[in-house]
Every structure is written in structure tokens, then in C-alpha cells.
């Protein structure tokens, strides 16, 4: 599946997007964030406070417990500051 990052999540990880193949044990968005945080210092830094980072699956906001099965695109980003 495709991951896409925005704002300081993007800056801390150091890339805009990537293809990933998480293990089967990664079921929810929260699982995915934890799994990513273990991939290296830049990821650990981006997900240092997992309650702050928000997620969207296929361009819709989701909660941390949302299942990732079937997702084409998952985005991680800070709380929004538009308007």
C-alpha cells in the first residue's frame, strides 16, 4: 500500500510517500504507526507522540482503531491548521 506524509510528519521522515508491505500482524492504523516507528530514528521521531499524528485512509479521516485492510493510500499528518 501507498503511504503519504504531510507537514512535519513528512519533514521528520524525510520523504513524501512510499510503498510499504507491513506484516499481517499490522491490522489497524495504530498498529501501522507503531510498526513504522520501529523502522528507524526518523520514523520514531515522526511518531514520537502517536496520539498527535492523524490519519486518513483513501482520503477520508479515520480513527487509530480503523482497519487498514484493503487500503490503497494511507496518509499520516499533524492536526490540521487550515482556514
Amino acid at each position: 500500500m501507498k503511504l503519504i506524509y504531510f507537514a512535519w510528519v513528512r519533514e521528520r521522515i524525510g520523504r513524501n510517500e512510499e510503498e510499504i508491505f507491513p506484516p499481517a500482524a499490522v491490522v489497524t492504523v495504530a498498529d501501522l504507526a507503531r510498526w513504522l516507528a520501529g523502522r528507524g530514528e526518523e520514523y520514531a521521531n515522526a511518531f514520537a507522540d502517536p496520539d498527535v499524528v492523524r490519519a486518513a485512509i483513501d482520503r477520508r479521516h479515520v480513527q487509530p482503531g480503523a482497519p487498514i485492510a484493503g487500503a490503497r493510500e494511507i496518509a499520516f499528518f499533524p492536526p490540521m491548521t487550515g482556514g
Binding site: A56, H61, A75
Partner: protein, 158 residues
């Protein structure tokens, strides 16, 4: 807040880098119609934060930005009897004094137009995928603007 029929005109939603003309958008919404009694126009501008800000850089999630604004617009159209709705949100580098966001809500009577416009702004701030980064006059690139509890609270009251 009467429940409303679903045959209203769809909202016009645009996400763009270019500036917009708030007056022209408000005029276009009501032009040639005699059923509209109230048009509320809200424009959000970039402040200079006491002179220290050079510009704001607005990052957005292309695709989701338009879709999420559309979903918030649908909620507003279900809650208030709107006769027209235009929402424009800019991205890219925006300098103090320039416009960032526009909401134009039209209805038969003022209350629905006022309330819908305020609801839309409160929801856009917490749900539309945009992020502001400050560029400072003194030190160049500043930090990302933090989301405020006040914005969350404002959205929750609806």
C-alpha cells in the same frame, strides 16, 4: 435548523494557488436570482503577526482537500436551507494581507446564512487537510503553526 430537501444546488468548492475575488464570488452566487434574501461572505486573511511574518506556506493534501471540504459543505447543506454555497481555499505561499479562505453562504434569510458560514469555517479549520508553516522576516523558515484547542472547541459546539 430545519431538515432540508436534497435538491439544493451543489456547493462550489475550489482549492487553488491563485488569489480569488470575494466580491465577484458573492455576486456570482446571487446573480439573476430573486429567491435569495441573504448572502454572508467570510474571508480569512493572512496576518503579519505584529510585523514578524514574511509569509505563510500552506501545504495541502491534493484530492482529499477538495473531497473533505465537499463533505463539510454537504453537512452544512443538510443542516441549513442554503440556496447557494461557495468555498475556496488557497495553498502555496501567501503573504500578509492576502486572502486564504472564502466562504459564501446564501439563503432566504440571514440566520441560516450566518450560521452555516460560521459552522463551515469552524469545521474547515479542524477537518480540511491544510497545514500552515510560517516564514519569518528575521530568521527565514519558522515552524509549523500548531493547532489550537480553541479551534477544536469551536468545532465541537456544533
Amino acid at each position: 435548523m430545519s431538515a432540508k430537501p436534497s435538491d439544493d444546488p451543489p456547493a462550489k468548492v475550489r482549492v487553488q494557488a491563485d488569489p480569488f475575488d470575494a466580491g465577484a464570488e458573492a455576486h456570482a452566487l446571487a446573480a439573476g436570482r430573486c429567491d435569495i434574501g441573504a448572502v454572508v461572505t467570510f474571508t480569512g486573511l493572512c496576518r503579519d503577526e505584529g510585523g514578524r511574518l514574511e509569509a505563510l506556506e500552506l501545504e495541502h493534501y491534493p484530492g482529499m482537500a477538495e473531497e473533505e471540504i465537499g463533505r463539510v459543505a454537504d453537512q452544512a447543506r443538510q443542516r441549513w436551507p442554503l440556496l447557494g454555497l461557495t468555498i475556496i481555499h488557497r495553498y502555496g505561499l501567501i503573504r500578509p494581507g492576502e486572502s486564504i479562505v472564502l466562504v459564501v453562504a446564501a439563503s432566504s434569510h440571514r440566520r441560516a446564512a450566518f450560521e452555516a458560514a460560521e459552522f463551515l469555517m469552524d469545521y474547515l479549520k479542524t477537518r480540511a487537510p491544510f497545514w500552515k508553516k510560517e516564514h519569518l522576516k528575521e530568521r527565514g523558515a519558522g515552524g509549523w503553526v500548531a493547532a489550537t484547542v480553541a479551534d477544536d472547541t469551536a468545532a465541537e459546539r456544533w
